[in-house]
């Protein structure tokens, strides 16, 4: 388990000399029915909402609901009107900026605290470290939907209601346990001997952490960082509860509460808002797929 964590990818069949396994036994017609057809259906269903989102975002209004004259699956004269409306006539750019600031700040705070906590639990092995590790894991399982009511009261009392700080302080409630847990797994995969060598050479614990362990854990830090960023970008219930004024909202809350008017749904603008709000995490994801997968599966494997 720790082995898989130490590298971004589990051992592939090619490395064990089992390349292809028994794949050669499968004939193509059979494979089409058992593998390619279901795979196609899965990929189609999983990706269709994104396609629909994108195509709606660039459809002129008159084509949007006129299925009789225009094929709904295609767009004849794509328009940037919805995106323009979103960027210049709503507070959308402000929401994007808020989301970026909040996500970056809470990710940074969480990573900084988690590195120390994970190092203390995994490597210093102080008395009771094992139980603290377990407590961290349990903390990760506490869902925001239980915490948001008391947290709303606290946020109000601290006088940070309706500010970015309210979210920067509360997001780490789920980010710190996650990052700590992930980094614990990562630190475990780094050989002890390296640290012992440094100790013998007279390095302090601080030097070991900053000069030996952290440079070796860069992939783990990236994994935890982008995952934490995505989690805070996607967060909804805290942002919905702790933020009241339009200019302080994050993208998910803003799109839902400000772009939806009761009389008429502007689907084009809504879909454009959803699309642009998804892009940053999707782009980040596409650059770091391996880190992403390893942090997701790493958290599960322990």
């Amino acid at each position: 388990m720790t082995l898989a964590n130490s590298r971004s990818e589990p051992i592939t069949a090619a490395e064990t000399g089992d390349e292809g396994g028994m794949g050669y036994l499968e004939r193509l017609p059979r494979q089409i029915v058992t593998v390619y057809l279901p795979l196609f259906v899965f990929v189609f269903v999983l990706l269709f909402p994104f396609y629909w989102m994108a195509i709606t975002a660039v459809k002129p209004n008159h084509q949007l609901t006129d299925y009789a004259n225009f094929s709904p699956f295609w767009v004849v004269e794509p328009t940037l009107e919805h995106i323009k409306y979103l960027l210049f006539e709503t507070s959308y750019p402000g929401w994007l900026w808020n989301t970026i600031v909040i996500s970056v700040a809470s990710t940074f705070v969480s990573l900084a605290t988690s590195v120390f906590a994970a190092y203390a639990i995994e490597r210093l092995r102080f008395t009771g470290a094992k139980y603290v590790g377990l407590a961290i894991f349990l903390a990760y399982l506490v869902p925001p939907s239980i915490l948001f009511i008391p947290l709303a009261l606290m946020v109000f009392k601290f006088g940070i209601y309706d500010t970015k700080l309210a979210l920067i302080f509360t997001y780490p409630t789920f980010l710190v346990p996650f990052c700590t847990w992930l980094l614990m797994g990562y630190f475990r995969s780094i050989p002890y001997e390296l640290e012992e060598c440094a100790l013998i050479d007279g390095a302090s614990r601080w030097q070991i952490l900053t000069k030996v362990l952290l440079p070796l854990s860069v992939p783990g830090l990236i994994s935890a960082g982008i995952f934490a960023f995505t989690l805070s970008w996607n967060e909804f219930i805290y942002a919905l509860t702790f933020i009241a004024s339009s200019e302080n909202k994050t993208v998910p809350v803003g799109v839902l509460t400000e772009l939806v008017r009761s009389d008429v749904y502007e689907w084009g603008a809504l879909m454009a808002g959803a699309l642009i709000g998804s892009l940053p995490v999707v782009i980040l994801y596409s650059f770091f797929v391996e880190h992403y997968v390893s942090s997701m599966t790493g958290a599960v494997k322990e």
Binding site: P10, L39, P49, F50, Y67, F116, A129, W267, V300, K301
Partner: protein, 314 residues
């Protein structure tokens, strides 16, 4: 974590003024301090505060007084609350079973020797990466009562005559939100299980095949037992997050029609924030805790049994 554990047999001659054990505990405490303070203030304390709030009649803008079990007594009589409990259990059970079955299937497909495997694995995870609220808004549009693309496609195929009222009818609304939740959950289950599948040595399958095992037998007696520990963890996560789901329901139905899709989390939000009854909302949230604990304990002991069966430690 006690900081002062006496260790009399400190090695003499080598840096005598540093007691290694004490330094370790002190340093450990120091390093742990930021995270610990943070979690105690923003996680443990609110958790306790939530339990306390459930025993008070706190409203927004007015501190409450202790009223004992009154909130719970009210909820006990409240048919909407029981409906939300039923909905939550139904939602969690159906969605988790579907996510597991479809996720495992997708994982098995992706574990085959495919061209562009990495590419497929990458795009399959997309629904999980995108913010739930934003993809839920896309589903809202897909489920539109008049202009649903699904209705349109089915009408074109001649399968139905009138557009399906996806979110307006109680049964349809439940099915629709479950479908959207499953859509979002499949990638997580599939990719996690795929990671587990890749650790199963192909030689086991080869040996079984030589011994005459059928594909079903190989799945049943090799893949499934080897995968059980990771299945338990993945499904615990999946069940916990489905049980406490809020975003999807809030976007798609806000609990309607006729409270048919109200989950405990959405009901708690509705009573506490727009309704202003913080105490009652907290009581509903606290009522979720026993279910969550049951799920965690179930998987914990399930895991232990498996480890022991496989001859592992612990």
């Amino acid at each position: 974590m006690s900081t002062a554990v006496a260790k009399p047999e400190t090695q003499r001659g080598w840096r005598p003024r540093i007691d290694l054990s004490q330094g370790r505990n002190l340093l450990g405490l120091l390093f742990l301090l930021p995270a610990a303070v943070f979690l105690l203030v923003f996680l443990t304390y609110p958790l306790g505060l939530g339990v306390w709030l459930a025993f008070t009649d706190t409203r927004i803008g007015r501190p409450g007084v202790f009223i004992g079990l009154e909130n719970y007594e009210l909820l006990w009589e409240d048919s909407v609350f029981w409906l939300s409990v039923f909905n939550t259990l139904l939602y969690t059970t159906v969605a988790s079973v579907l996510k597991f079955a479809l996720g495992l299937w997708l994982a098995l497909i992706l574990n085959k020797h495919l061209p562009f495997k990495a590419f497929f694995r990458a795009i399959v995870l997309l629904p999980w990466v995108v913010p739930t609220v934003l993809s839920a808004i896309a589903f809202w549009w897909i489920y539109d009562a008049q202009f649903s693309i699904i209705s349109w496609a089915l009408i074109q195929m001649g399968l139905i005559d009138a557009p399906i009222n996806f979110l307006g009818d109680t049964t349809n609304a439940r099915a629709s939100v479950i479908a959207a939740n499953v859509w979002r959950g499949i990638p997580f289950v599939a990719i996690s299980l795929l990671a587990g599948l890749q650790t199963i040595p192909p030689s086991l399958h080869e040996a079984a095949t030589l011994d005459g095992a059928t594909p079903w037998q190989r799945f049943r007696y090799i893949t499934l037992p080897m995968l059980t520990p990771i299945i338990a963890v993945v499904m615990t996560f999946s069940v916990l997050f489905t049980f406490t789901d809020f975003q999807l329901i809030y976007v798609l139905t806000r609990g309607g029609p006729l409270n048919a899709t109200h989950l405990m989390a959405t009901l708690s939000f509705q009573r506490a924030i727009p309704g202003g009854q913080l105490g009652e909302g907290a009581a509903i949230a606290v009522a979720m805790i026993p279910f969550l604990l049951a799920a965690i304990l179930f998987s914990y002991f399930g895991l232990q049994r498996r480890r022991w069966q496989q001859g592992g430690s612990d």
